[in-house]
């Protein structure tokens, strides 16, 4: 009856250029690698051509970072480093709408999320870390902790600019220089960040950005001139990197996959719990390492809860990411869409009951309707493997112990959610859950002051807060 008219954010502000280049030693330069075309997953149109790095470009960038470290950045007083990083933070805030629209175009996520979450959190991350640059002696890591040198960083496609911020900001604050490879399907906002870094007059070579695919990442992480490697991405690739770095002496931090349990008890504030489950798995189309991809609901409220959940999911709007009213955007790539589809098929084969939102989907682009599987058991693939899409697996439990056992029954350990009105139960569950991030009566909350990272095969090391500084210091 009441159709919201299309409310598109203007595309023009993204300032899209036909081609983008590497950022090395303070300049934008052509790379010698095979250029890639980055597409808009909502329409499958080509957005731009992006030059990529080859082996020599990687070498040049690492050497530039080393020179900048030895001659300028490694010696610069923290208070001066701080002021550069503050500039970057403030300029990101000034160009926030441009960055948000570009991110939405390149990644497929709704403009609402890019605008309200990704970009502000990225800018805040720089702002927070700027303040640590001249206060490292207070971080509990020794009176005068030193940086490591050159950091090689590889980031994923799900939160392109935010992941760049999570990597670059602490590295710089601690006095390191950086060579960063953005994901193959989402290079654009990192390269606009490079522009901002240039405008902030950051000394050449302190930050270098190399677009490219997995081969460039491997080249970078294995380069002898890199002292520290940071990787966020799939567990499989994380293991490869850890193996290849074995014996090299390079410091490593990994932030990998997850299969988080969102646990709903019978005394949960039910309507807000529904919101939390929805946010947990459909925020960013479920392309979130810490997504609440398993719902563990207490059996006594399971039916009522599922009914409310289905009703709420039905109101989610899937469509044009640039429409301000879109709740769920496009799947980032055809590859990812295929993965999701295959895993969903296994769910049906293995006997789970599938429910799909009746929402209309656009007829082009990579889209997947929110899907809920009930009657899932821990033995099924959809309960064990990370789908990385808008698919929720629902299991039930009877007692808190059983909830804990099921929640922990995974080699992953990134995050978990607890929904109950009882304070002591929240704290007891938080103690028991083997996860690096526990959200109680909320989900997907990120703040630069709060450390983030996982247990076991979800990786090691933390990002954010005082704990996150450790990764970039020689301590």
């Amino acid at each position: 009856m009441w159709e919201y008219a299309p409310a598109p954010e203007s595309r023009d502000i993204a300032n899209l250029k036909p081609s983008y280049r590497l950022f090395v030693d303070g300049e934008f330069v052509e790379g010698a690698g095979e250029p890639l075309k980055t597409i808009n997953p909502a329409t499958e149109e080509v957005l731009a051509e992006v030059s990529t790095a080859d082996k020599n470009d990687v070498d040049r960038a690492v050497k530039a970072a080393r020179r900048a470290y030895d001659r300028v950045w490694g010696k610069m007083p923290g208070a001066e480093r701080a002021k550069y990083i503050y500039r970057i933070a403030r300029m990101m805030a000034e160009r926030s709408r441009e960055l948000a629209v570009l991110e939405s175009l390149d990644n497929g996520k709704p403009i609402k999320e890019a605008r309200d979450v990704d970009i502000p959190t990225a800018s805040a991350h720089f702002f927070y870390h700027a303040g640590w640059a001249d206060k490292l002696g207070y971080a509990g890591l020794g009176p005068d902790p030193k940086p490591l040198g050159v950091a090689g960083q590889v980031i994923p496609w799900n939160f392109p600019l935010l992941m760049a911020a999570w990597k670059i900001a602490p590295a710089l604050a601690c006095g390191n220089t950086v060579v960063l490879k953005p994901a193959e399907t989402t290079p654009l906002t990192a390269l606009v960040l490079a522009e901002i870094i240039q405008q902030a007059e950051l000394p050449p070579g302190v930050v270098n950005i190399l677009p490219g695919a997995g081969d460039v990442g491997a080249e970078l992480t294995n380069h002898a001139g890199v002292d520290k490697v940071a990787f966020t991405g799939s567990t499989d690739v994380g293991k490869l990197i850890q193996r290849s770095l074995a014996g090299s002496g390079k410091k490593l931090t990994l932030e990998l996959g997850g299969k988080a349990a969102n646990v709903v008890f019978d005394d949960a504030p039910l309507d807000q719990a529904v919101e939390g489950i929805v946010n947990g798995i459909f925020f960013n189309q479920g392309h979130v390492c810490c997504a609440g991809s398993r719902l563990l609901v207490q059996e006594s409220v399971a039916d009522e809860f599922l009914e409310k959940l289905h009703a709420r999911i039905t109101t989610l709007r899937i469509g044009d990411p640039l429409d301000k009213n879109t709740d769920v955007g496009a799947i980032n790539s055809r590859e990812q869409l295929t993965r999701i589809t295959e895993l969903v098929a296994t769910g049906e084969e293995e006997g789970a009951e599938k429910w799909v939102s009746p929402c209309p989907l656009p007829d082009k682009g990579f889209f997947f309707a929110p899907t809920v599987f009930a009657g899932v058991s821990q033995a099924m693939r959809i309960a064990r493997e990370e789908i990385f899409g808008p698919v929720l697996s629902v299991l039930t439990f009877r007692t808190p112990d059983e909830a804990v056992a099921k929640a922990n029954n995974t080699p992953y350990g990134l995050s978990a959610g607890i929904w109950t009105d009882k304070g002591s139960r929240i704290l007891w569950m938080a103690n028991q859950l083997r996860a690096g991030v526990v959200w109680a009566n909320t989900f997907n909350r990120f703040d630069p002051t709060a450390p983030f990272g996982g247990y076991q095969e979800s990786g090691f090391g933390r990002e954010g807060g005082r704990a996150g500084l450790e990764a970039y210091l020689d301590v």
């Binding site: 008219a5 409310a7 949960a268 504030p269 039910l270 309507d271 807000q272 919101e275 301000k324 009566n441």
Partner: protein, 322 residues
């Protein structure tokens, strides 16, 4: 607590059981799921970012106009003031007769007769506040007389206040009885129950009071008298919309919701309509089940309506003051 009123006839067993006595009522109300403050406020804020444009905006403006209970509740009200209010209710935009009429006018009981005369034959309802509005601090005898006077003078709707003192001290049975009694005195008039959410303070209380009002037979639950701050807010209205939605799931009946006070402009009004749409559902997007208690809102809606139709921003001189 008095014997179960007609309100509990026809209720599903679990709900009828709750109205058996005050102990059962308390157990039921305290057994409702809690409301997490941060969670509900975040959802309300999230829905407030919906961007409603063009045809959907014009529809929303017209719908909002048709949902207004055009209100004057001042000590200084006179016959002249009420006449002028009713003239506006009949014809909100002097230059655009096709603009929708408001749903009702809302006045004090001693102004009902005049309002009735001035709205005769127009389809615009006459809502009267009652039960020692706004404080509700008087005897049942006085509150009943207040109501009966208004009904006798022709009020088609009664906006009563609950006894907040009784609610906050846990005397849910007394609150229930008062509502049930006033409902009987209403006759054919429909009953809106004002919870005065600003005095209830917590969302848990708002949820409980909403259920209490519905169990006791209210036709509408209303946020505020408009005399206390905070009056209507989006999160409070969310909680009430969720309550009427849950009530419908359990009983099949539709109860209406009316936010009142503090809704000043079109942007606010559209946010409320989005909340109605996405929390309760399309069935509530009409003036049988949703009202705005407002006075200055109408002129802003009319100016925005003109802006949509004429393509340029309007000004206050182009809409009538009362």
């Amino acid at each position: 607590m008095a014997a179960p009123s007609t309100a509990s006839v026809g209720l599903p067993p679990a709900l009828a059981d709750a109205t058996r006595d005050e102990t059962s009522l308390r157990r039921f109300l305290h057994g409702l799921p809690g409301v997490d403050q941060v969670g509900v406020e975040q959802r309300a804020a999230g829905l407030a970012t919906r961007s409603i444009k063009k045809a959907s905006k014009l529809w929303a403006i017209d719908t909002a106009i048709s949902m207004i209970d055009l209100t004057t509740l001042e000590g200084a009200d006179t016959a002249g003031k009420v006449r002028s209010l009713c003239a506006k209710a009949r014809r909100p935009d002097p230059d655009r007769p096709e603009a929708p009429r408001v749903a009702a006018v809302c006045v004090y009981p001693d102004m009902v007769a005049i309002a009735r005369t001035e709205t005769a034959g127009t389809g615009v309802g006459v809502a009267s506040v009652a039960t020692a509005f706004p404080a509700g601090r008087s005897s049942m005898r006085v509150k009943l007389a207040d109501t009966e006077q208004a009904v006798a003078d022709g009020a088609t709707e009664i906006d009563m206040v609950i006894d907040r003192g009784a609610f906050l001290s846990g005397h849910y049975g007394r609150v229930f009885d008062e509502i049930a009694t006033i409902k009987q005195a209403c006759g054919d008039a429909h009953l809106k129950v004002i919870l005065e959410t600003g005095e209830l303070v917590t969302y848990d209380n708002v949820r409980r009071a909403s259920w209490l009002a519905m169990l006791a037979g209210g036709d509408f639950i209303k946020t505020s008298t408009g005399k206390v701050s905070p009056a209507a807010t989006l999160p409070v209205t969310h909680v009430m919309l969720q309550a009427v939605c849950d009530w419908h799931t359990q009983t099949g009946d539709h109860i209406g919701v009316k936010p009142a006070g503090g809704i000043r402009n079109t942007k606010d009004a559209i946010r409320y309509l989005v909340a109605v749409h996405e929390v309760a559902g399309e069935a509530w997007l009409n003036n049988k089940l949703f009202r705005f208690g407002a006075s200055s809102l109408l002129n802003d809606l009319l100016m925005q309506r003109r802006a949509q139709l004429e393509g340029h921003y309007s000004g206050p001189d182009y809409v009538a003051c009362e």
